[in-house]
Symmetry: C2
Subunit: 408 residues, 2 copies
């Protein structure tokens, strides 16, 4: 490994650690000598990429300095694009969201229109936060479909008409002089949760997003796993053996039975069938039932709403149990809009998993609600972007990070 | 990386390559300079771990020497233990099986009795092949249950009564002065197929063993994936939504419906119900129906046998389609005793997968019968063992491979 790439490697270790690290910690993690670590640390300090965070405990002599990423090293634009909404955030270099804004969007209007709209939101919040374009070091976007990560192109995204192989990166390069990276939305949520949401070390994590649709993001041995065609984690169309037609053309898909859209449709049916006064009232006053009404129903002790969520959780648990038998992960993290419903859903999912999974597979398994919640996507988008900036600096240039960052 | 571990790294690259490699090839694979590669190659040649295989094509000047593993560097004992049979083989250092022997065994008789019996087989074939104990460099065993790989201990193996945490390694150290490694049987089959069965480069492979039971071995990014508790790939108990009780206590497990035992039981039912003259005749003459009778039925154009295998393949295909959506692998390799039935089973599996998997997930997917067939376990056991010998030599000593091998 070249000297410079080892410096970048040290930077990755510092920023990926859960706590600030001493030079001895870094030496242990890299296998380098402490004096070699000192050189890399000095270079990173000169480049203002890391900072002295605080002074650690001493094992006798002088207390060691502890290093962490310098959050002021630059700003990242992070975008989480869904089928019907977008969230835009500006983060610092430690993935803290400084300002963010959400807005409804119809992804079916095509990339030019949707991206232009997102760009107007970005300009607005940059103005509001008084951050100049030149201070933006990278842009990360999560989209609701498979992505060829190396090129940043959407690949046959089934629910994004007009986006197939659309060059999203080129759009942003017209407006910003920094790299842009595109990934699947659930992937960046998984990355966010893994990097910043966990209080303990976990190597194998499956993040399950339960929103309108259902998807999974997979972290294996500390790295995002994308699969051969970039479609790994697409669990929404796994067969749960029920006779309901899905938009994909198949029958019995998990998403068609347990996703947010399916729950809302069933809630409407229940309201119309006179099985829930609460839901009927919501339907009358709004003309429609959404997942939010079901959530409200649960908080109002509406038994129909509870039943719907329990049914949904049981089906999701059934699919997760197969994944647990297959992949034997340490942690299942449940996120996405529907997951905000909380304990009733989580309990039903857990019950489904423990009923069907092999005892050995669940011996060390945790099934938790995402700690980052709604922030997972924006945090993960920023984390993925900084990761790529560092990796690209190793591959492309002989200065640290991208050449554009020389001024640091 | 230390010099010695880099030499071992070069050895791994040479032995894992599909063809003999030139120094330039090795330099490209490692990022080392050709002159640095030369040093490592010289050391490996001196230790007689590699050999000059043949002379390659020249791009102008002198034709380069090509290097491969020296198959004569030592012998490995490879053991594949099933619930009702064992196969023992002696391989050379390139995992070629030199001699092998299979025998029935009842795993329920417990480790002491079963292992002593296996030891008697080992002694017999060593005698027959005129190979001395001191020439054995390692022992590899695959067992039909989860294994804590680092310690070599079986972990709560459900179909191996009396084996839980039995120190299999210690048994062999009483008889042989070389390391022993224990892994799950499907894992070593996957390793064997990946290392020696493929004619092309594949990074993500799921090996499916269809025998009495059904299991999977997972290769991700070129490495065996074991999961957190060593139980990854345990797909036999995934729910396929049918009302049949499995020995595990759940209903609708894949194994209880599509495994070799289930097929034989259904075949017997069909024979007794008068649905197949062929199977009834087999039942009358043998008093029992096994999977072999069904296989013979297929070759005799017995439609009941064909139906059974198609049903089994469809259910297996249904489960594999979920795995394909989740893991998006490049290759599904079908092995195990029942897989020997061949094309009818394979066609039914493929049909099930293509019907339920997302188009993008199957775009680059191959579903093939295992190329190594019955040899996968023995080859994989040897490959895994040599892998560990090299890895341990890096961790434990400052001579190449284990200290015991100094004499080479």
């Amino acid at each position: 490994m070249k000297l410079l790439s080892m410096t970048a490697h040290v930077l990755q270790i510092i920023r990926r650690a859960k706590q600030p690290l001493s030079k001895t910690d870094i030496a242990a993690a890299t296998g380098l000598s402490v004096s070699a670590v000192s050189e890399h640390v000095e270079r990173l300090m000169n480049e203002k990429l890391i900072q002295i965070s605080n002074i650690g405990n001493s094992s006798g002599g002088r207390k060691p300095k502890l290093y962490s990423i310098n959050q002021h090293a630059g700003y990242i634009i992070s975008i989480e694009l869904g089928t019907s909404a977008v969230r835009v955030g500006i983060t610092d270099f430690d993935c803290n969201i400084l300002v963010s804004h959400g807005a409804p969007v119809d992804i079916g209007e095509g990339p030019e229109k949707v991206l232009s709209y997102i760009h107007s939101i970005v300009s607005e919040i940059l103005d509001k936060a008084q951050i100049g374009k030149s201070e933006i070091k990278g842009i990360g976007i999560g989209i609701p479909g498979p992505v060829e990560f190396a090129s940043g192109l959407p690949v046959s995204p089934p629910i994004m008409p007009g986006w197939d192989r659309y060059p999203i990166r080129d759009f942003w390069s017209r407006h910003f002089d920094c790299p842009c990276y595109v990934d699947n939305d659930v992937n960046i949520m998984a990355v966010g949760e893994y990097a910043k949401g966990l209080q303990f070390e976990v190597d194998n994590l499956i993040y399950i997003k339960i929103g309108t649709g259902i998807g999974a993001g997979i972290i294996y041995n500390g790295k995002l796993y994308r699969g051969v065609s970039g479609s790994a984690g697409d669990i929404g169309h796994i067969d749960v053996g029920k006779d309901v037609v899905c938009w994909c053309g198949n029958r019995g898909c998990l998403e068609a039975l347990a996703g947010g859209k399916a729950i809302a449709a069933k809630a409407k049916d229940m309201a119309l069938a006179g099985k829930s006064e609460f839901l009927l009232e919501r339907l009358k006053s709004n003309g429609e039932i959404t997942i939010k009404d079901v959530r409200m129903g649960i908080h109002s002790f509406d038994s129909a709403s509870v039943e719907l969520i329990r049914e949904s959780g049981a089906l999701i648990g059934q699919v997760i149990s197969s994944l647990v038998n297959f992949a034997n992960p340490s942690l299942i993290s449940i996120g996405g809009g529907v997951a905000e419903i909380g304990d009733i859903l989580l309990a039903a999912i857990r019950q489904g998993v423990y009923q069907r999974s092999l005892p050995l597979s669940t011996r060390n398994l945790l099934i938790n609600k995402s700690n980052l919640g709604k922030a997972a996507g924006l945090v993960g988008g920023a984390f993925m972007t900084i990761d790529q900036l560092i990796i690209n600096s190793i591959e492309k240039s002989d200065t640290l990070l991208d050449l554009r960052m020389k001024s640091w």
